[in-house]
């Protein structure tokens, strides 16, 4: 019967991915406590026991969704080596992030709710540390681009990193809370860096 767990061979990776997708949406919509393994299984078209076959517990499932989602998001928003100005890098980051939110809304929603879940569930505090590592890699990279280009050469690397963190996360959270960008918020960030770029 197709609803009985454990498909064989090549199907296995695909099923695992389907479970992760369904779980991400379920966690993003209903939170960790409210998420139902039954609902996830039904969405994928498998038995709940099959979910536990791939992910031993709800906790493990949440952690794996976090890893997979963080990798995908931070990979795509981290500036490439050839970005030469913060203005260009930020424009790309905002565009990529908008595209992700449009095409894969559960990715943004899951990550936005993570820090609050981690506070409610101390067993996830390790995820907060991992989140900081992902953030730091991207924001430090942006900071060093901005310092090298002259846009933020009046700041130390730490100051530039924290400023960029506040700006990007502010833009991200406000959009998440309202399910729409605050009008002109992305534009204001780009206008500011464009001004800094041209005023050297």
């Amino acid at each position: 019967m197709s609803t009985r767990g454990r498909p064989k061979g090549g199907d296995s990776a695909q099923t695992k991915k389907k479970i992760l997708d369904a779980a991400r949406l379920e966690f993003a919509t209903n939170g960790y406590d409210g998420a139902s393994i039954m609902a996830i299984a039904t969405n994928v078209g498998i038995a709940p026991s099959a979910v536990y076959h791939y992910f031993q517990s709800k906790e493990k499932l949440y952690t794996d969704v976090f890893e997979q989602t963080s990798n995908a998001i931070w990979e795509s928003v981290t500036p490439s080596e050839d970005a030469s100005t913060l203005f260009d890098a930020m424009r790309k980051l905002l565009d990529d992030s908008r595209l992700l939110a449009e095409q894969l809304p559960s990715y943004s929603d899951f990550l936005a709710s993570l820090p609050i879940e981690a506070r409610l569930h101390p067993e996830f505090s390790e995820l907060l540390e991992k989140r900081a590592v992902y953030q730091d890699r991207t924001f430090r990279r942006l900071a060093s681009i901005g310092i090298a280009s002259g846009e933020l050469d009046f700041l130390t690397e730490d100051e530039a990193t924290e400023l960029i963190r506040s700006i990007v996360m502010g833009w991200f959270f406000e959009r998440h809370f309202r399910q729409a960008e605050i009008p002109n918020s992305g534009e204001s960030i780009l206008a500011m860096f464009e001004h800094l770029l041209n005023s050297d």
Partner: protein, 199 residues
């Protein structure tokens, strides 16, 4: 139901005291457990009074949440807004962020409660008209801050609209990210003041 005097409802000054105790306990529960997980009976127990008396003051969770929001905003907002009287926008940013930082150290449940409000509103839109003052305050604060910068000549580069949005995003982002990652520090404040001097 008959109003049984024995089940709570103290009068006058006592009543205010009881109400304050509920608000204090509820603030901790709402911040630590979120709106959906917070339980009226546990809050009542923590406050040291009966659930019946709690219901007398706050008939439901929406009412309780609104009251906690009002009490918290009344405490925090004036301490932020007074910095709009600073002689410069740089000082207003410095002062308001330092003050927010101080409150988050001394009474973390106040600022964390406020930082969580927008995420609760997303989940529970029925709360939104109860905390309307928040959006009004935010708009008032950032437009006044930019008007100050314009007046002192600190801001000339962009339009007022873009300045308002930029500083709002950066300062609100500092509040959200700092509270969510449990690391509120003043590096962003230093960076914003230096940025302002550069403009």
């Amino acid at each position: 139901m008959v109003d049984k005097r024995s089940s709570g409802r103290p009068t006058g000054k006592d009543s205010t005291k009881v109400r304050d105790a509920y608000i204090k306990a509820a603030r901790v529960h709402f911040t630590e457990n979120g709106y959906s997980n917070a339980s009226m009976s546990t809050i009542a127990k923590d406050a040291g009074y009966t659930p019946t008396a709690l219901r007398h003051h706050f008939p439901n969770k929406v009412e309780l949440y609104s009251a906690v929001f009002a009490a918290t905003a009344n405490e925090v907002y004036p301490q932020i807004v007074r910095h709009l009287d600073s002689p410069s926008m740089a000082q207003a940013i410095e002062g308001s962020m330092a003050n927010m930082h101080r409150i988050s150290n001394n009474s973390p449940e106040y600022t964390y409660f406020l930082a969580r409000v927008p995420s609760e509103l997303r989940k529970f839109p029925e709360l939104s008209d109860r905390v309307e003052v928040r959006e009004n305050f935010t708009e008032f604060f950032y437009s006044s801050l930019i008007a100050l910068g314009r007046k002192t000549g600190e801001l000339e580069s962009l339009t007022d609209e873009l300045h308002i949005k930029f500083f709002r995003i950066a300062m609100q982002g500092w509040i959200y990210e700092g509270h969510y990652s449990q690391n509120v520090n003043l590096t962003t404040q230093t960076a914003l003041v230096k940025l302002l001097q550069r403009l």
